[in-house]
């Protein structure tokens, strides 16, 4: 794993790095979040969507980040499966509930937005359904981990599931292009550049970075907790054997 950053493969250095990185990311998240929301709530009403356009600044970054977290989960699972790396496993375990939470946020804000826009909280179209599927896969990951007693077996089984579930990511991404759904297509991350007006684009990007920092901070904190828990368990095992 020579290409992986040293702090990732060495628990000691990871702990040293995350001790200051986690709070720093947290501060960035709060700062950018406040700024982004302030900008977002002062944008002019959209000619089509009116007031409700403001949900965008919560919904869209949440939708981005929940897919990004899945990528993190899949990469960490891959590393733990192939290299049997304990820290990668802790990272995967720590990421799953965060991913579920952000996916839930995207679903709820999307549903709230859908009511005024489409006249229904929920429609069974491909984009919405595939995000729901993402949520369910996060839950399945958590459930699978919880129902195997043997720690190493649980982590390997869950890692396999995480990799299999990655098949859903392209489906979410391209669902709007493959089907004529109610949900609109990509307007920011496009090959030919964003098509969004700058007044909307900037707050959106700021909120995106804020979400990213928030996730980074929470993730590091949870990995640290996981590392501590495992150390404590190992110590308990040692003393138990005398």
């Amino acid at each position: 794993m020579s290409w992986a950053p040293a702090f990732l493969s060495n628990p000691e250095r990871f702990m040293a790095f995350s001790r200051w990185a986690a709070p720093l990311f947290g501060l960035i998240a709060v700062g950018l979040g406040v700024w982004g929301l302030w900008l977002g709530f002062n944008v002019p009403d959209d000619y089509q969507q009116g007031q409700t356009v403001r949900i965008m600044f919560i919904h869209v970054p949440a939708a981005w980040i929940c897919m990004f977290i899945y990528v993190c989960l899949a990469v960490a699972s891959f590393l733990s499966l192939i290299f049997r790396h304990a820290l990668a496993d802790a990272a995967a375990q720590a990421a799953a509930p965060l991913g579920a939470a952000f996916t839930f946020l995207a679903l709820v804000t999307g549903a709230l937005w859908g009511r005024p826009m489409w006249g229904a909280y929920w429609v069974w179209d491909a984009r919405l359904t595939s995000v729901l599927v993402l949520f369910l896969i996060y839950l399945a990951y958590i459930a699978l981990r919880a129902s195997l007693d043997d720690e190493t077996k649980a982590s390997r089984a869950a890692a396999i599931l995480a990799l299999v579930g990655a098949i859903n990511l392209p489906i979410i991404k391209y669902s709007v292009e493959w089907w004529n759904t109610l949900h609109q297509g990509a307007s920011v991350f496009r090959a030919d550049g964003p098509t969004l007006a700058p007044v909307f684009l900037w707050p959106l990007l700021i909120m995106g970075v804020a979400y990213l920092a928030a996730f980074g901070s929470l993730w590091l904190v949870r990995i640290r907790g996981e590392v501590w828990k495992r150390r404590a368990e190992a110590a308990a095992m040692r003393t138990a054997r005398g």
Partner: protein, 221 residues
């Protein structure tokens, strides 16, 4: 090669005994085709509209409920140990197991699907597409179900876990296939959805055995 053929024959026979086979498929769809009009009332238009979709959903559910035990029995009675101790790579063994399951369950159900759909009042012209979707979809369901079954080996609440793992993974093929059938019925281009279904099925056939083999090794160790 010889041993894989033998395995395929055995798995098919076992899956057949476990609740598969053409007669079961026919019975199952006969059930759906009889029950559905009985349960929701026999107005032809209502029925015809939902017929292919209902047959399609019934296929997914039937696959789900029969796949759960694909590995469990072999795991508990020691057959899985013997299957692992062989020159045949475990990935191939898993592939054959799923294929056997599909041949005993999925394929007969697929063959019966268009009949059931037409029985419910679907346009006979849709039969070839219904069949093709059911064949491909059944393949995807078999391999996805195999992954779920292998992952939940040795877990508490194995059956539940299989369902929780497998159901979300079933959604994309359902969307693809349902979309193709719906588009066909509406006279719209349906090849897109169908191609995606095929791609998804092939992807599960390619990736599924690797995941299953890893999961089986993990459960045995």
């Amino acid at each position: 090669m010889n041993r894989l053929v033998a395995l395929l024959a055995r798995e098919t026979a076992l899956a057949w005994g476990r609740g598969g086979g053409p007669m079961v498929a026919v019975a199952f769809y006969a059930g759906v085709a009889t029950f559905l009009p009985l349960a929701i009332g026999p107005e032809p238009t209502r029925l015809a509209a939902i017929a292919p979709g209902a047959a399609w959903v019934a296929l997914a559910l039937a696959s789900l409920l029969s796949l759960e035990r694909l590995f469990e029995r072999d795991y508990e009675d020691g057959a899985l140990d013997q299957l692992v101790l062989s020159p045949a790579p475990l990935e191939l063994t898993c592939l054959i197991k799923c294929l056997g399951q599909w041949m005993a369950n999925g394929a007969p159900l697929a063959l019966a699907a268009p009949v059931a759909a037409i029985g419910l009042g679907a346009d006979p012209a849709s039969a070839p597409l219904t069949l093709a979707c059911a064949l491909l979809g059944g393949l995807a369901f078999a391999f996805l179900g195999g992954i779920g079954a292998a992952l939940s080996l040795g877990a508490r609440r194995g059956g539940l876990l299989t369902a929780v793992i497998v159901l979300p993974l079933f959604v994309p093929p359902i969307i693809f296939g349902g979309g193709a059938l719906d588009a066909f019925a509406a006279g719209l281009p349906w090849t897109g959805g169908f191609a995606l279904l095929g791609a998804y099925a092939l992807a599960t056939v390619a990736v599924g055995p690797i995941a299953m083999a890893a999961a089986c090794r993990n459960a045995l160790s």
